[in-house]
């Protein structure tokens, strides 16, 4: 299962950028040459099969899964960036592949739940509010 927020959420003033995402999750940029691009939403998932079904192009993927397929999945689906949550170590070969594929990657010590919650708020969502699009 994955959850996607973005399109239906109440927009905040101005576009949400990669810099906003990094700040929200207290992230460290593992590779990000430019954090000014806008992002369209967030998908939180550990199952790449779900990402390939649910994620819209331009979304940021937040995941606790760390392997090469995360990078390839995000690049295939035209995602804006990947945030590796839960403070997991991200091996150099994964960062190298991200660089080769021009996909910004960040690491955060937040749990997947915390990171998704903070990013939900960045996109203007609040608990119980309609607007955030939930997908099974």
């Amino acid at each position: 299962m994955s959850d996607t927020v973005g399109a239906g959420a109440r927009p905040r003033a101005g576009a949400v950028t990669l810099a906003d995402v990094r700040e929200a999750v207290n992230g460290v940029a593992l590779w990000c040459p430019d954090d000014s691009p806008a992002v369209t939403g967030v998908v939180a998932a550990d199952l790449m099969s779900d990402v390939l079904v649910d994620a819209r192009s331009g979304c940021v993927l937040v995941t606790g899964l760390v392997n090469l397929q995360v990078i390839r999945t995000a690049a295939i689906a035209d995602l804006a960036a990947v945030v590796f949550a839960r403070g997991k170590a991200v091996p150099a070969d994964i960062v190298d592949l991200a660089r080769q594929m021009h996909l910004p990657v960040f690491a955060s010590r937040d749990s997947l739940f915390e990171a998704a919650g903070r990013l939900y708020a960045v996109f203007g969502g609040a608990p119980g509010e309609p607007g955030a699009r939930r997908q099974a």
């Binding site: 099969s49 079904v53 397929q69 390839r72 999945t73």
Partner: protein
């Protein structure tokens, strides 16, 4: 793009998770170079990647062949593997024979074939148990 047809084949090795996805990435790059619309490229890339991951997870080896004409993008996937005993069942969302190792990779949720169908205009699956599976996927241009 030009009126000329474009054909490129990619060899895929079963259980090679280090390189899984390279063929689909190559297909995506080739379609970008042709200047096709990004939404179409995304559909083709997702369908190709789902098929490639299925091949890497289940088959011994196989090929993916990209064939582009002014009207269609076609990907022909052929593998040597266990085959699919019941294609109709395999097309159902959530049906999966994935191992725990496959699920740990982030795949095997039983969404592969249904998602390929969702992202293509035509899909023909043929399979022979203990021999292999063939997918013919087509997306119309324009």
């Amino acid at each position: 793009m030009t009126d000329a047809e474009f054909v490129r084949a990619y060899e895929i090795v079963g259980a090679d998770f280090t390189n899984a996805g390279r063929a689909s990435t190559g297909i995506k790059e080739a379609l970008k170079d042709m200047g096709l619309p990004s939404a179409l490229i995304r559909r083709v890339a997702i369908a190709a990647y789902e098929a490639e991951m299925n091949l890497v997870m289940y088959a011994r080896r196989g090929t993916m062949t990209l064939h582009v004409t002014p009207n269609d993008v076609t990907i022909d996937v052929r593998d040597e593997g266990p085959g699919i005993p019941d294609i109709q069942l395999a097309m159902q969302e959530g049906y999966s024979t994935a191992t725990p190792a496959m699920r740990e990779m982030g795949f095997g949720a039983g969404m592969g074939l249904p998602n390929i169908k969702r992202n293509t205009d035509e899909l023909v699956v043929t399979s022979e148990v203990h021999r292999g599976t063939t997918l013919l996927m087509k997306v119309h241009v324009g």
